[in-house]
């Protein structure tokens, strides 16, 4: 960086890369977040991609975005609006400008703003900057495509391959804007394209060209920003998405429990990456079966569980509908099973690539009969690891199916993940039937936690039959006895109620808050950021974010009744609020509900909460 350049320090910044689905925006965003995380910034990312695989090039429906929030101190969300918007074509500018702050820096590729491009993006005039009401001084307009072609003209690459490197030029420019060390990006590319040295070299060349272009052409007009690192937790880190963290959590739990990991699944957005991730790791003994349908995904996992595996099935909302009957079978068989629901917009096919919390009541109650099932909702992309581990532990130790709720926002979003040390995680001890019960054991005999013992096929002397028909409490034989059925329903319910979960923590002004914000699962970051903003403005606010939904933490009632005003904020029309009202006598909260398929917007939350305050 030249010395005469003015460098401004920032606390945090949001960058949004946008372009056609095929423009490589996710990769550019990923590299930028990794580069930032490597220097110790806090990061949170959110890919926002269309349902179409490849919508027509340059069309409004085909725009894909990747938002990165980097901060000197902890960032909780990918940010509401961006400080820098990269728009690789006219359609991207048209659709994504609404996500930009009014003073945002806009980077555009003028080569993709020709008349035909403007028409496809439904601009009315050729002066698109004025038409969008953008301050021209905030625009870095560069003939990006031309420059990339120039840069690689001697590379021997074909035009199509050259054009694929456009994203790296934009990345180089953004790296210049934020004074980023390119070496880290280069190393990332060298590793990513370890087997294609030519591709790595071309990409590196283009990043450098983008950086140099910014430095040489725009230094006079633009400030360069620097995000220092204020809060650091020393350690080794990697970037991880929620779906990958979930997969890792399952792998870790299986290893800890000494069991084989089995995943029965059927591809469905946005859960499929869990299937992809686990399918890679056969060298760890992970078995994935891509089944003929969602039902078989869950059913085969029950078979695997019967045979002694840590069994899981992964899906999203519509898949849960299909799995419900089999999930209920696992309830009555009392076999361990982790059911992952990466929630998306519903009902029916709904908004497959978008995020909601609308499956909560389905997870809790969407089955026939009295069907108690633990439900855990992960709080953040990295928390998906712990949540998956804990879901597995509860399933195995309490012989029950467990629903793990994440969503598109968590599953696709990423954050820096401090490498966990498995030795620090609690042991997982499934209740294998003790040998001394040989001859006395029956399938529904329970231990002191009301948990039925596990006898895995292959073990001599413990042959037995399980089934979907109600069983006699003592003998395990089929029973339609009314008293027995009542007893078994109560025992299954009590078994779940007895599961120990940690108390819900109150953050913020926990002693004297005027307003308690209550949420569950993935909204943690946004609600936390909203609380921080209100407290910074002098308000007394606290947050209780629930991860354990069933059973609820023991201190739930105490926490909810302690504060004068309580607002339950969730991305559905009031499912958690209704559930809490059912569980906590006399609890009547205010509500904030939104079902837009997008993560909450912190400023909207603050505005709404201020009205309630």
């Amino acid at each position: 960086m030249s010395n005469n350049l003015q460098i401004k320090n920032l606390d945090n910044v949001v960058v949004r890369f946008s372009g056609d689905s095929g423009d490589g925006m996710q990769l550019a965003g990923n590299i930028f977040s990794t580069v930032s995380a490597t220097v110790g910034n806090s990061i949170s990312t959110f890919p926002d991609y269309p349902a179409d695989i490849r919508a027509p090039q340059g069309s409004l429906t085909g725009v894909s975005g990747f938002q990165v929030h980097i901060g000197a101190t902890k960032v909780y969300t990918p940010g509401d609006k961006c400080d820098v918007l990269v728009a690789m074509n006219a359609a991207a500018l048209k659709t994504q400008y609404k996500y930009a702050k009014s003073n945002a820096t806009i980077i555009i590729d003028t080569d993709s703003f020709k008349e035909a491009d403007l028409q496809k993006a439904q601009f009315q005039t050729s002066d698109y900057i004025a038409e969008m009401n953008i301050d021209p001084d905030r625009v870095i307009a560069c003939p990006l495509t031309t420059m990339v072609k120039d840069c690689l003209k001697d590379s021997g690459m074909d035009v199509k391959s050259i054009l694929k490197c456009r994203n790296m030029f934009a990345l180089g420019l953004v790296c210049w804007l934020f004074d980023r060390d390119l070496e880290i990006a280069f190393n990332f590319l060298k590793e990513k394209f370890a087997k294609k040295a030519g591709v790595a070299e071309a990409n590196i060349k283009v990043i450098q060209a983008g950086y140099d272009y910014g430095h040489n052409t725009h230094s006079s007009a633009m400030n360069v920003y620097r995000i220092e690192t204020a809060e650091k937790t020393p350690g080794r880190y990697m970037d991880i998405t929620g779906n990958k963290a979930t997969a890792y959590g399952l792998i870790a739990a299986a290893e800890k429990a000494g069991l084989r990991l089995y995943l029965g699944s059927y591809p469905i957005t946005p859960a499929t990456d869990v299937l992809h991730e686990l399918s890679k790791h056969k060298s760890l003994g992970v078995t994935t079966v891509q089944c003929e349908d969602e039902i078989a995904g869950c059913a085969s996992a029950i078979g695997a569980s019967f045979a002694g595996a840590l069994a899981a099935t992964s899906t999203s909302g519509p898949g849960i509908c299909l799995k419900s009957e089999a999930m209920n079978l696992a309830v009555i068989l009392e076999l361990p099973l982790v059911v992952l629901d990466v929630q998306r917009g519903g009902p029916a096919t709904g908004l497959p690539t978008k995020s909601e919390q609308t499956d909560l009541l389905q997870a809790l109650y969407g089955r026939n009969g009295e069907s108690p099932m633990p439900v855990i909702a992960a709080l953040s992309p990295t928390d998906c690891f712990d949540a998956a581990y804990e879901a597995s532990k509860i399933a195995l130790e309490h012989m029950t199916p467990v629903v793990l709720l994440t969503d598109a926002y968590l599953g696709n979003g990423s954050a820096a993940f401090k490498l966990p040390n498995l030795a620090d995680y609690p042991a997982i001890n499934p209740p294998y039937v003790p040998e001394e019960l040989l001859g006395k054991w029956t399938p529904y005999m329970r231990n002191e936690d009301m948990v039925r013992y596990w006898a895995v096929p292959g073990r001599k002397g413990f042959t037995h039959i399980l089934g979907g028909l109600e069983k006699d409490d003592k003998t395990g034989a089929i029973s339609t006895n009314p008293e027995n059925h009542d007893l078994m329903c109560r025992k299954r319910a009590e078994k779940i109620e007895r599961i120990q979960v940690p108390d819900v923590q109150v953050e913020g002004d926990k002693d004297d808050a005027e307003l308690l914000i209550v949420g569950f699962g993935s909204t943690y970051g946004h609600l936390h950021a909203a609380m921080d903003e209100m407290r910074a403005a002098g308000k007394k606010v606290a947050l209780a974010q629930f991860k354990y939904i069933n059973p609820l933490p023991k201190n739930t009632s105490e926490v909810l009744k302690k504060y004068k005003t309580v607002v339950v904020a969730e991305q559905n029309l009031g499912q958690f609020a209704g559930y809490l009202r059912m569980k906590v006598d006399g609890f009547v909260p205010k509500q904030f509900n939104e079902v837009k398929g997008q993560p909450f917007n912190v400023s909207e939350l603050v505005e709404a909460f201020n009205k309630i305050y």
Binding site: G264, K282, I302, I465
Partner: protein, 333 residues
């Protein structure tokens, strides 16, 4: 270790007197004892229906699950522990209607399941509705004026799904049943055994043409690999090629001799003729019993586990902490 039928027996069956399930159960228990796989290494997994009660009467590991899903559940069980001998018990409704998808995919994958299809062409447990194997025009409680749809022919479905093993027996024919069960056990891969059984209450007489030994001689043919396809009280009939098809001839008449009679080849990979045999029905043809198709092919469970073992030797990470190290990692100091 030697086992007896008592090592596999449990409880008191609650099927109607005369139900074909009783006969089949006895044959299965006896055959399992003869096969000699330990009860604790055997899992019997059923769906829902009269016949799906069967695992309750087996002293093995067992699951009586939900309607139609037995094949899927058995798949997870077998993949997880390939050492288990896994038997799937389904009726025609369980296996071919609600569970039709799992039936075809288990065959396509060729997972090593012994898939027993107890075919009485009726829904018994729900008290008498037509099933996907009931013939067109079948009158039942849900089709008082006769069905207007054609039935599945299980063999056709199995073959269409690339099934490698199909055998058929009559429930009342203990030796015939034992023979195909043993062959199914010996076969590595999905092995469909269609058991023709009577429902005395709702579909009495549906398999009458082959149910009793005397008529069976006349109306059925026992197929044995490598043997001439002859049948009749004195083996006086045979199957011969007829252009692109097959036909029944009386040996010694119209110039046909024993030399003209086809020899059964259950191991032939091409299933064309096997399918013809499997689809034969009266009155022009005998019903084929025995092992109709038995072709070796790679099994899913073995392939899944072989791939895992192979990758364990190829990949450099073998536990969770080594897995973490395969990522791009940075250090914050």
């Amino acid at each position: 270790m030697e086992y007896t039928i008592n090592d596999f027996k449990k409880g008191q069956p609650r099927w109607c007197p005369g139900c074909g399930d009783h006969f089949f159960l006895a044959a299965l228990q006896k055959t399992m004892a003869e096969i000699g796989v330990a009860p604790e290494d055997t899992a019997v997994i059923s769906g829902i229906g009269c016949s799906s009660r069967l695992p309750h009467y087996m002293a093995t590991y067992g699951m009586n699950t939900i309607h139609g899903r037995a094949a899927a559940i058995a798949t997870g069980c077998k993949v997880t522990n390939p050492k288990l001998s896994v038997w799937q018990i389904s009726g025609d409704g369980d296996g071919l209607a609600i569970g039709g998808n799992h039936f075809i995919h288990a065959n396509r994958r060729n997972i090593d399941l012994k898939m027993i299809l107890l075919n009485n062409r009726i829904y018994g447990l729900t008290k008498g509705q037509y099933s996907p194997t009931s013939p067109r025009g079948f009158v039942s409680k849900s089709s008082p004026y006769g069905t207007v749809e054609d039935p599945f022919r299980p063999a056709e479905l199995c073959f269409g799904a690339r099934g490698h093993f199909f055998a058929r027996a009559v429930a009342t024919d203990a030796p015939g049943t034992a023979e195909i069960l043993k062959a199914a056990h010996a076969h590595k891969g999905a092995a469909v055994c269609e058991i023709l059984q009577n429902c005395v209450i709702f579909n009495n007489g549906t398999h009458d043409s082959v149910y009793k030994p005397d008529v069976r001689k006349k109306n059925a043919i026992y197929l044995k690999h490598g043997e001439k396809m002859v049948f009749g009280e004195n083996n006086e009939f045979g199957l011969v090629q007829d252009g692109f098809s097959i036909k029944v001839v009386k040996i010694g008449e119209n110039g046909y001799t024993l030399d003209d009679v086809l020899v059964h080849d259950a191991h032939c990979e091409d299933n064309t003729l096997q399918l013809k045999l499997a689809l034969m029905e009266g009155p022009d043809f005998p019903i084929a019993l025995g092992v109709i198709r038995d072709v070796e092919a790679p099994t899913y469970d073995e392939a899944v586990n072989a791939q895992i073992e192979e990758l364990k030797t190829q990949k450099k990470y073998h536990n969770f902490s080594e897995l973490l190290e395969t990522n791009d990692i940075w250090e914050v100091k």
